[in-house]
Symmetry: C2
Subunit: 280 residues, 2 copies
């Protein structure tokens, strides 16, 4: 489930995790930007509502994307693992200019789609340039190491997070959502303590990280994105902790980004980005 | 933490997870085969005892590998994350013909080494052809998705396994150890239920999987290797299960391999291998 190889001359497509509960009516700037990346008036967006158990999860996004100017929106559900092999569904993935996963339960996405031709094709299409995004559970599924579920609170505890393999569009970020609203800093830190190789991004509701082909992310929306870089972590006590024990972590780097600010994974630097440009 | 790219003309080195408690005196066939893969009389083996809190964990293996004919064995511990940046230690990784991780706690390995230049270099060296193996915790760390800890029992339960990112030499196998001795089928199945893309291998004590450059594994040792292939999994109830709930999984393929038998990941087929050859 590692990212598909980007062919020479190609650029990977954008990866767009959204923290859930994004503004859908008054000021849908996140979804509008997603439609623009999908091709604007030429956008052909495939909505996958598999994470959800609500009947209208897909059709609601289909209507929104249509109102925001997409040329065509299709809703394709995967109810069984067999559906991940269905030629008709694969053909729809093949012709989409962008793919969007709704919220719900990320374990439904990984347990239904994981290891199927549909999952492979979505990775391949992202590597070939199309945009893939999702909200809440649809954001969690995008990375290689997915937070499946966990506890609340700001302090990392030994048992506060359950990871599962995700879709694997990126293996550089650990993604969490409803971040401030559900008090999830602790579980994101616990996941980083397991293995500090990745960068953690905690997405508030109505807030998205637009991760470009160059692995620079830019924030959009009304909340913040908390970036936790464990690259300089000097020490953690995770290996010695058990159960609800709090975990000691020394030397984390933290950035709180709002709309316009950026984080460059290659250099591991945060920048005010458009915030500074607006001021000058 | 995905596997390093294998350069054109190169072959990835062997990956050798051992289920723990391997025979060290009477009939050390697993360790002898490891030394042979490391170059036999030209072997320069680096032992990493970081998982263990026993003082002699490394020196014991050093003595054994020496007795089995290795030219040179060095023990290099990584006690802190700072050690993962130490040029002297990196130089030793650079010149080793094989690397061996002792048992202990796999979260110590991932939390100390994860994301450091040492972890990157070990992946790169394996991609360039050197053998990397380990026993127990040292086996768990080898894969991309590592079983950090979990419960006992044959039945998969929603909360029976905790995954963490491992060293990432392979992302095709999920590895578990002390398999029969600690009754771990359930937790391996639970990990596969999260996302059925990988193949699970459960290693009994004194039993190893020798995974070749072509991703065919061959079993060595006195116990068995249980291979669980979820590629044809038709259904799992993981997404709807919680806590200690048992998980329904339909359509798993199971192979129990003993010494000489093989499993080819490319074709997902098991073969009696040397067992059949011996008979004819």
């Amino acid at each position: 489930m590692c990212p598909s190889k980007v062919a020479q001359g190609d650029e990977r497509g954008w990866i767009v995790p959204i923290g859930g509960a994004e503004n859908k009516n008054g000021d849908p700037r996140i979804l509008a930007r997603f439609v623009a990346l999908a091709g604007g008036p030429r956008a052909e967006i495939l909505v996958i509502p598999t994470a959800s158990q609500l009947r209208d999860a897909g059709s609601r996004y289909a209507q929104l994307f249509g109102e925001l100017g997409a040329q065509r929106v299709e809703v394709v559900d995967f109810q069984t693992r067999h559906d991940g092999h269905d030629p008709e569904r694969l053909a729809r993935i093949e012709r989409a200019s962008a793919i969007f996963f709704t919220g719900g339960n990320q374990l439904r996405l990984s347990s239904v789609l994981g290891g199927t031709p549909a999952a492979q094709l979505i990775r391949a299409r992202n590597a070939a340039g199309i945009t893939v995004g999702g909200s809440s559970a649809g954001a969690a599924i995008l990375s290689e190491h997915m937070i499946a579920y966990g506890g609340e609170g700001a302090c990392p505890r030994a048992d506060s997070v359950h990871l599962a393999p995700g879709l694997g569009l990126t293996n550089r970020f650990l993604i969490d959502q409803h971040f401030r609203q559900r008090d999830r800093l602790g579980r994101l830190l616990a996941a980083l303590a397991y293995n500090p190789f990745a960068v953690g991004i905690g997405l508030d509701e109505d807030t998205a990280a637009f991760i470009g082909p160059d692995n620079t992310l830019e924030v959009e929306g009304s909340g913040s994105v908390t970036v936790v870089d464990a690259g300089d972590l000097g020490f953690s006590s995770m290996a010695d902790a058990g159960g609800r024990d709090p975990v000691c972590m020394l030397g984390l780097t933290l950035h709180v980004l709002i709309a316009g600010a950026t984080f460059d994974l290659a250099t591991r630097t945060a920048s005010p980005g458009a915030l500074l440009a607006e001021r000058t």
